[in-house]
Symmetry: C2
Subunit: 381 residues, 2 copies
């Protein structure tokens, strides 16, 4: 089998997600947005699909890198795209990951198997945690510790067995504020009781001292983990923090460098629980490498972010990976609503808080090709 073409299709949809001036998502007025489907076309019929690619990069990099190749040589093709990164500095791991996921999707579709069973399955369901949006200034949204507490109660009623707060960040005028973060965490603990695992992912540019203060307060509140309170490019800061805190420090998520960076974090003792997602490290191929690295050192690893790729890796992980990150959630947004370009939710959650591994082929997306066709837009590629 050979790859004969790389196609992209950009299409419109309505959304009420907006971005603030620092890039964080919040609810807002409905407006048009676009999404792009990547298709890897083969000479024998089966195709592989993934969402979220830049059409120009698909045209300029994926085509010369992939066309003519056997799509089952995923390791070779991932290494090749990795080499391209030196020259095309805007070819991020996130973008490479879309190509890698489409190749895994293709393999699954060829054999009518979900990707996690090609990888070698470990489990067929994963406990989710409710992952909130960042704080805002919308009354009844996520504007106060009380708002977080009320929303946490709703999450528990919905079936979530664990909750992670993202708290207030700029451009909110008074944010960040370590004391407000702690107040929100305390209000949520008070609301849900002591048996629910709670996690915090706060402002990412606190000082060492601010991070240590928050961590100590989280320990008193029996929080389960503490995530990215400082710039992750300072490995030394994380080694300093993890050394002093009892609460597990989780990372890295944002720091570039794939599994290599994670190996160095292990060496430095910069995290208690390793972290990574398909979008962080460049797809399923390197995320499995990161999982295997963590396992070799007896370390847990928590998968960052949701979607089909991360879910399939969670199904194949022999070590925790305890949770699937479901969200981002907000009182004003119905996360369970199916995206218009899909026929069903990739990460539907049952009443016990479990997301079940999709049993459909590949990544598990049940794509509404009619919707995509009917709403496609021209791109300037």
């Amino acid at each position: 089998m050979k790859i004969v073409d790389i196609k992209t299709r950009t299409f419109k949809y309505k959304t009420n997600h907006v971005r603030d001036s620092e890039g964080h998502g919040h609810p807002g007025p409905e407006h048009d947005a676009t999404q792009t489907l990547l298709t890897i076309v083969t000479d024998e019929g089966p195709a592989g699909y993934a969402f979220g690619v830049n059409p120009a990069i698909a045209e300029q990099i994926f085509k010369p890198a992939l066309v003519g190749e056997d799509p089952f040589y995923r390791e070779k093709l991932w290494q090749r795209l990795k080499h391209w990164q030196r020259i095309h500095r805007n070819l991020t791991d996130n973008v490479i990951g879309v190509a890698d996921m489409a190749l895994w999707d293709l393999a699954g579709r060829c054999f009518d198997q979900p990707v996690y069973k090609l990888l070698g399955g470990y489990r067929d369901k994963v406990l989710a945690y409710a992952s909130t949006m960042c704080g805002d200034e919308e009354p009844g949204g996520l504007s106060s510790p009380d708002d977080y507490a009320r929303f946490a109660e709703w999450c528990i009623q919905r079936g979530y067995k664990a909750i992670k707060l993202h708290t207030w960040m700029p451009p909110i005028a008074w944010a960040p504020d370590p004391k407000m973060d702690v107040k929100a965490c305390a209000a949520v603990r008070e609301a849900v009781g002591d048996d629910i695992p709670l996690m915090l992912d706060c402002y990412h540019y606190y000082s060492r001292e601010q991070a240590l203060y928050i961590g100590r307060e989280l320990e008193k509140l029996n929080y389960y983990w503490f995530e990215e309170p400082m710039d992750e490019h300072s490995t030394s800061s994380y080694a300093w923090l993890a050394e002093q805190l009892d609460i597990p420090v989780v990372g890295p998520e944002t720091a570039e460098g794939k599994m290599y960076t994670r190996a160095e974090w292990i060496l430095r003792g910069a995290a208690d629980i390793l972290r990574g997602g398909v979008g962080d490290v460049g797809g399923i191929t390197p995320l499995m490498k990161t999982v295997h690295l963590a396992e070799s050192f007896g370390m847990a690893m928590e998968v960052h972010g949701g979607g089909g790729g991360n879910l399939q890796v969670l199904g194949a992980m022999g070590i925790p990976g305890e949770f699937y990150e479901r969200g981002l959630l907000h009182p004003f947004i119905d996360y369970d609503e199916v995206e218009p370009w899909l026929h069903s939710k990739i990460d539907a959650m049952d009443d016990e808080g479990y997301v079940h591994l999709p049993q459909g082929p590949g990544l598990g997306y049940d794509i509404n090709f009619d919707y995509i066709e009917e709403n496609s837009v021209e791109t300037g590629k």
Copy 2:
């Protein structure tokens, strides 16, 4: 799909391989030997095969661990067999590896794909090195430095582009002898010229000082790597040796502990090139974990031993893994002769010294089921 039965079939064949009193193989008089085929039977028809299992262990451990399970949950099943090891202390990684390889073989047969393309292929051929048997006292065999030199010349004519010597060991009365090891290495270097990579895997219980002496001589002879001259359970000895030598020290091979042990060797700087094979770490599943561990630290990893499982991993490895270990070879043995229970050699080598990844399904063994049936023997399981 469910596993419904685990079968073993032990069968006779003629061989001229004999074992000395320390367990090393040599040529000898033809005699009967036995081999055992493991079969993982499913309710939907496809089966998975691997060779080299103990029938009693298959009956007592593999059956209760595997029957009733989905064979595509390889990670779950490997973790489960790993748990059994605490209780059944004779359940070695080597034995677990046979079950894991049969499960991978089954997946490949289900989808009519070689295992390396399920893993995600990287290459379709691998350079082999000629791996000699241990030294002996048979004139014209491997009884002297001159014998090694003559055999090395034959290996080069046969197409090998690299050679690894196993030298003299007990029960030979005068062995081990570091000076004789060096003489054999020098004779082979003299015979093949300076452009052929040469490696040494000598007596495994030398002292630190003896190992350092041999390593320094190998550096003068421009050897490519130095393997297991001391007991691998002493990680400190290997850290001591690797620190001083320029020639890459390769390991561990024999030390128990799967990818965990290899992680500690990396931390300690106990090897320059990591090592492992399916028989050492417990199958394809943990060997891929070891590969990914090595890659995360930018380290090369050389695969130990031959056969379908190791070959498939080499096809999927994105990092060197430069060589396939072909052998063990001896002037009196025709390694290219097909085993009677196969229709073709799993690791046929071309005239340029490459072993090509088998394109048949699963591990790539073309099994002669008629031979196995006709030569089967009762086992006392």
